[in-house]
Symmetry: C2
Subunit: 661 residues, 2 copies
C-alpha cells in the first residue's frame, strides 16, 4: 500500500486549530478536518451509514441488517434491548425500528419507536434507522419528530407514507401525500444530516396503478434524496432480481436491499401476507399446509427456504446486503445468518467496552473502570456531557455525572423478576455471612443453599465475564471471607490484540492491563487492610470510601491511573480504561444505592433480611486496588492474604484510628 | 501516605469544563483548576519558583543556584548556552542572569541579558531569574522590560537599584530611587505574575548609613512584595549566619540564600572585592598572597575554602540553598557542588527530551521524534504555537512550523568553527563514498582518513547518544553502504523507568519504544527498499520523501505513530515521542537544508566538493522506518539487509516505477 501524499506547503497549514480538543459534532462528515481532530481508532465510528455501505460494497463484503418493531410493555422493552445486545454481537450493519402512528411512536414512553431507536443507538451502540410515516401528519409534527431524533443522536430515517387511518383519507394540499414528500421535507429542513431509506415493492405497491407506475414513484423518491432502498418481503429470489434490474434500467443507482422474511409460523405468515397483500407461492404453501400445526417443522422449513433464497441473491453479485424482518425473534434469523456465514461468531471489539453509536460520542475512547459491568448506566449518567474524554481522561472536561433520581428507567432495572432475585439472593438472610454466600455462589456459578444458581448481582446483571473467570479461585476464596468483589481484571503484559479473551482494537497490536480489584468490605477489614497497604507503597494505589463519602486514598494529586491500554501499528497509544478518583465518588453513590434499591427493597420493611443489607450499606467500605507493576504477577491477592493474616493474628490492638472518624 | 479527600458533593462539580484542552496560560498558579487540566507528569513544571523552594524546604532537601553574566560576543553566547546545558544537568533550582545598563540588556541582541535569560528558559529548560536595575530608568522603560520578559516566558525578577551612572545622581521624584520602588512597581503593574528576589548585604550595603539601617531597607523590600533574598558574597560563614539571625529578628521570614563565591584567581578576587567594597579576611589573604601567581593552587584553595564554608552553612540547618557566583566558569563551582554532594550526577529525565521552562509549554508532553537531536530548533520553530500537544499529538492544533528564513540564530549554528568542520567532514570530497565515510567515522567515533575524529554532523551537534551506541555495529555497516543515518532508537519492551540509559519519568514505571531508523539514501536504494517493504506490511511503517516533497508512505489516514511511551504508578499513559506524517514534511525541509547550509557552503562555489553535497541534496531521499512489533527483535536491520541483497542480485529490472515521477 503506497499512498501519494500531497505537498505539505499551503494545504496542510490551512488546517487550523479549533482548540476545543473535541472534533465536530453531529453526523456531518469529518473528512475536511480529520487532521485536527484526534484520530479515531475505528473509522467505522465516524462514517455515516451510506459511507459504511459504500466501503463494504467496494471491498465486496456483504452485510445484513435487522428490523424490529417497538414492544407493547416495559417488560417487553427490557427483553428487546437484551435482544439488541445479543443480536448486535453478530455484527449487523444496522437495525431499524418500525413506526406505528397509533402507538404514540414519537413520545418519551419507554416503549415508543423513538425511545427504542434511541436506546439502540446510545446504549447498545447499534447503527439504527428510525421509520417515520407521514400521512395524516402536519409538517410541524414531522419536523418535531425529526428534530427530536437528531437531538437523540439518531442519524437515519426510513421515510414512509404509511397507511391512511380509516378510509376517508384524501390527498391534502398542505400535508404529505407520498413518501416522496417526506424525503423532500427531510432534505429541505435538515439538509444532508440524515441518511434516508425508502421502501421498494418488488411486485409493485398494492395501491399503485401498475408495476411500472410504482417503479416511477420509487425513482422519484430516490431523486428527492433517498440514499438506499429496502424492499418489501418476497418469496422468490427471481422476484427481487427482476425488480432490481428494472430499477437499474430506469436509472436508480443506489443500494437496493432485499427484505428477507424467514417463515416462522403459520399464523404469523398468514397475518403478514394479509397485511402486505402478498401472495404466497404455491410451492411454499404446498410444503406448509401439511405441517401448519407443527411450529418447529415450519420454522425449520422457513430457515431452509430463506437460506436457499439468500444464497441465490448473494450469488447474483448484485445484492450488497440482506435485510431481515425478524418479527422481534432471534432464533430463525440468527440461524439463517449463521448458515450463510454472515453472522460474526467472535466479533472484534474496537475498545474493551461497548461503544455508543451516538455521533456526539464518536471520539470517546476513555472511561472509568467502575462502570465496566454497567455501561448503560455510565452512558445514561454522562448523556448530557458536551464532549467526551478522548486520548486522556484528564483532558475530559466536566466530571459532573447525572443524578440518581431518574435512575430507575427500564433499561437500568435488573433483567430478572423479584421472584427470581429472591431465589438467587435469598428469601431470608440471617447474617452478613449469608450475603457472603450469595457473592460466593455468583463467583463459582454453583447453586446456593436453596438450590438456585446466582446468575447476577446488583452490580453485575450478567454472569461472570470470561476474563474474570481467570481469577475465579482467588475471588471465591476472598468472597467467602467477606471481601465482596464487584469488579476485577487480571494484569496483562502485552497480549496480541487478537487474543480471544483479552484482545481488542485493530490487528497487529498488543494490549496491556494493570490488575484491578474492587470490593465491599467491613470497616474491621479496612483497618487491617490500611496497615497492610503501607508495605505495598507505591506499587499499589487504593481508594477506600464509605457511604458517607469518608475517603482514604494514596492517589497522587487525584490523578487518574490508566489500567487498560493498547499499542497498535501506526497509531498513538489508546488507554480506554482509567481509575479516576473523582468519578469514583460518583460511582460509590451508585454502588451503595444498589444495595438498597435492588437488594434491601426485596424484603419487608424492618425485616431482618432488609436490616442486614441496610447494615452493610451503612457500615461497609467500597475499596478499589490497582497493582501498578503490570509485568509482575499481581500482588493484590497477597495484599488480601496479608490482611486476613493480620485479622487472624492473636488479639492485640491493630487499629490505628485511621478509619474511625 | 493517606490523604483525606473532601466530600464529592458540590465542590467537585464546580470544576467546570473549559473545553480548551489546554490549561490556563501564563505563570499563574493552576491550583484552582488542576482537576480540569491534564495532570502533569512532573509537578515541578507547573510550580512557580517560590513554590518549588517551599517544597524543598519542607522536605529538607537543600538546593543550589548559579549566577551568570551576559557574554560580550556572539561566540561567547554560544559557549555560555552550552555551559547552561552542561551545568543545567547538575540540577540547579534556578540560574540568574545579571543586568548591565550600559550593555543594552533589554534588547533583542543575542548577547543581551534579556535574550540570554530567554534562551535559558525556553531552550535550556532552566528556571531563570532575570536581574533588573532601576536607577536612572523611567517607569515606562521598566514596565517595557517587564512586559517583554513576561512575553518571553520569564517568571522571576531580581529587583536591584543598580549603581548610579556617573556621580551626579540624585533622588528623583518620579523615578526609582531604591529597589523597594522597583518591587512595588512590579507588584502594582504585574500583580503576582513574577516571583521577586532582592539583594541582601551581610555586612551592610556600602552606601547604607549603618548595618541596622540597611537591614531596615531590606525589610522594606520584602514587605513591598519580594519572595526571597540572595546575599552579596562574603568570606566567613559566621558573617552570613549573624546576618540571617538579624533578619529573622526584625521579622524577615522569607528564604535567604547565601551568595557563595569560590575564589578562582587572584586578579578576579581583587576586582570583585574592589567593586563590592568588601574586605578579604586576613586568614584568606595570608594563604593567597604567597601563591598569587599560581592559578591552579588558588583555584584549589578556593574550592576547599568554599566547601568548608558551605558545610558550616548547611550544617546550621538555617540555610535552605546555596547561591553561586560562577563568573561564567564551570570547574570550581561544579567541584564545590560535587564535594558537597549537591551536584546530581545522573539526573532523572522527566521526559525523553529536554523540556522547556516557558510556562506556556508546561503542559507539553508530546513531540515528533525527528527533532530528537535538534530540540532547540524544534522549540524555536514552534515558539508561536498557542498551545502544545499534551497527551496526544493528534490533539495538537496547528501543525504550522516556523519558517527556516530566521533560522541562523546563534543558538542554531554549529558549535564548531568552519576549520574544525572541514577537518571533520573533509577538506575535499571526491565522491558520494567520501560522504559515506564521514558518516561512518561519526558512528564509530574513529578518526577519519585525515586523522580527525568526526564529533558532529549537521543533524547531530553532539557525539552519538548513549542509547544510539547500542546500535553502533549495525549503524556502521549500513552507513558504509550509503544508508546515511541521522536518527535512530532501539526497541524497548518495558525497561524500568530508572534504567540509566533508556529510563525517564517518575520512579516505579516502565518505558517502551518502537525501533526507529531515519536516514538519507539514494533513489536506487529507495526503489529496492520499496520492493522489500512490501514483505513487512503492516509491521513496518515508512515515510520516504525527497527534497521536492515527493512522498511515499503506508501511514494509515496520516495518523501519528507513538514510538516512545511510559507506564507509571497512578498515572495516565505518557507518550512523549511520535512519528507524525505532517510534521515530517516540515522536518524534511530542515533536514535537507542542513546539507547545503552547514556542509556544502564550507566549500567554494562550483567546487567538486560542493557539487557532491548538492547532488546528494537534490537526489537522495529522506527515509524513516518504524518497527511496530516492539516486543520482538527489531526487523529494521533485516529490512536493510534484504534491500542490499536485492541490490546485489544479478542485474534484472528491479524498479517498479514507484519512485520515478
Amino acid at each position: 500500500m503506497v499512498n501519494q501524499v500531497q505537498r505539505v506547503d499551503g494545504s496542510w497549514q490551512t488546517c487550523k486549530s479549533d482548540s476545543s480538543g473535541a472534533s465536530n459534532s453531529g453526523g456531518e462528515s469529518s473528512k475536511e478536518s480529520s487532521r485536527c481532530s484526534t484520530p479515531l481508532l475505528d473509522a467505522d465510528r465516524s462514517d455515516r451509514l451510506r459511507e459504511k455501505m459504500r466501503k463494504r460494497m467496494e471491498s465486496g463484503d456483504p452485510w445484513f441488517s435487522l428490523e424490529f418493531f417497538p414492544p407493547r410493555t416495559a417488560g417487553g422493552a427490557v427483553n428487546l434491548i437484551s435482544r439488541f445486545d445479543r443480536m448486535g454481537s453478530g455484527g449487523p450493519l444496522f437495525i431499524d425500528i418500525t413506526w406505528h402512528p397509533s402507538g404514540d411512536p414519537g413520545s418519551d414512553k419507554e416503549t415508543s419507536s423513538m425511545m427504542i431507536a434511541s436506546t439502540a443507538v446510545n446504549y447498545c451502540g447499534l447503527e439504527s434507522v428510525l421509520h417515520l410515516t407521514c400521512c395524516n401528519q402536519s409538517q410541524e409534527k414531522i419536523t418535531g419528530y425529526l428534530a427530536k431524533a437528531k437531538q437523540l443522536g439518531l442519524k437515519n430515517i426510513m421515510a414512509l407514507r404509511g397507511d391512511p387511518l380509516g378510509t376517508d383519507w384524501e390527498d391534502e394540499e398542505e400535508g404529505f401525500n407520498y413518501a416522496t414528500d417526506l424525503v423532500k421535507h427531510i432534505r429541505s429542513e435538515f439538509d444532508d444530516y440524515f441518511d434516508i431509506c425508502v421502501a421498494g415493492y418488488p411486485t409493485g405497491h398494492p395501491e399503485a396503478q401498475s408495476y411500472e407506475d410504482d417503479l416511477k414513484h420509487l425513482k422519484e423518491k430516490v431523486d428527492a434524496g433517498a440514499d438506499f432502498i429496502i424492499t418489501q418481503l418476497f418469496f422468490r429470489a427471481d422476484t427481487f432480481l427482476k425488480f432490481l434490474r428494472d430499477c437499474r434500467a430506469i436509472g436508480i443507482t443506489c443500494p437496493i436491499l432485499p427484505g428477507v422474511f424467514p417463515i416462522q409460523g403459520y399464523q404469523s405468515l398468514r397475518q403478514l401476507v394479509k397485511l402486505s397483500k402478498l401472495e404466497v407461492p404455491d410451492e411454499i404453501m404446498q410444503v406448509i399446509e401439511p405441517i401448519k400445526d407443527n411450529d418447529a417443522a415450519i420454522r425449520s422449513y422457513g430457515i431452509h427456504q430463506a437460506v436457499e433464497m439468500c444464497r441465490v441473491l448473494l450469488d447474483s453479485g448484485e445484492v450488497p446486503g440482506l435485510h431481515f424482518y425478524t418479527l422481534n425473534r432471534e432464533v430463525a434469523t440468527t440461524e439463517v445468518l449463521r448458515q450463510l456465514g454472515l453472522w460474526i461468531e467472535d466479533p472484534r471489539r474496537p475498545l474493551p467496552w461497548a461503544v455508543s453509536a451516538n455521533p456526539k460520542r464518536k471520539v470517546e475512547d476513555v472511561r472509568p473502570i467502575f462502570w465496566a459491568s454497567r455501561p448503560k448506566s455510565y452512558i445514561y449518567r454522562t448523556q448530557d456531557w458536551d464532549d467526551f474524554p478522548n486520548g486522556r481522561w484528564g483532558n475530559s472536561s466536566s466530571p459532573a455525572f447525572g443524578e440518581l433520581n431518574d435512575y430507575y428507567l427500564f433499561y437500568l432495572k435488573s433483567k430478572s423478576s423479584k421472584d427470581a432475585l429472591l431465589k438467587m439472593w435469598g428469601e431470608e438472610l440471617t447474617s452478613e455471612a449469608s450475603v457472603f454466600e450469595v457473592f460466593t455462589s455468583y463467583i463459582t456459578a454453583q447453586a446456593n443453599r436453596s438450590g438456585h444458581k446466582v446468575m447476577c448481582l446488583p452490580w453485575n446483571d450478567d454472569a461472570l465475564a470470561t476474563e474474570t473467570n481467570l481469577l475465579k479461585d482467588e475471588l471465591e476464596k476472598v468472597n467467602r471471607r467477606g471481601v465482596l468483589t464487584i469488579n476485577s481484571q487480571p494484569n496483562i503484559n502485552g497480549k496480541p490484540s487478537s487474543d480471544p479473551i483479552a484482545g481488542w482494537g485493530p490487528a497487529g497490536g498488543y494490549v496491556f492491563q494493570k490488575a484491578y480489584l474492587e470490593f465491599f468490605t467491613s470497616s474491621e477489614n479496612v483497618t487491617a487492610l490500611l496497615k497492610v497497604l503501607k508495605k505495598y507503597e507505591p506499587r499499589v494505589n487504593y481508594h477506600i470510601v464509605n457511604v458517607q463519602g469518608h475517603n482514604l486514598t494514596n492517589a497522587q494529586d487525584m490523578q487518574p491511573n490508566a489500567v487498560t491500554w493498547g499499542i497498535f501499528p501506526g497509531r498513538e497509544i489508546v488507554q480506554p480504561t482509567v481509575v479516576d478518583p473523582v468519578s469514583f465518588m460518583y460511582w460509590k453513590d451508585e454502588a451503595f444505592a444498589l444495595w438498597i434499591e435492588q437488594w434491601a427493597k426485596l424484603y419487608e420493611d424492618e425485616s431482618p433480611s432488609r436490616m442486614i443489607i441496610k447494615y452493610i450499606h451503612d457500615n461497609y467500605f467500597l475499596v478499589n486496588l490497582v497493582d501498578n507493576d503490570f509485568p509482575l504477577d499481581s500482588c493484590l491477592w497477597q495484599v488480601l492474604d496479608d490482611m486476613f493474616e493480620l485479622l487472624d493474628a492473636p488479639p492485640e490492638p491493630v487499629g490505628d484510628g485511621a478509619v474511625s472518624e
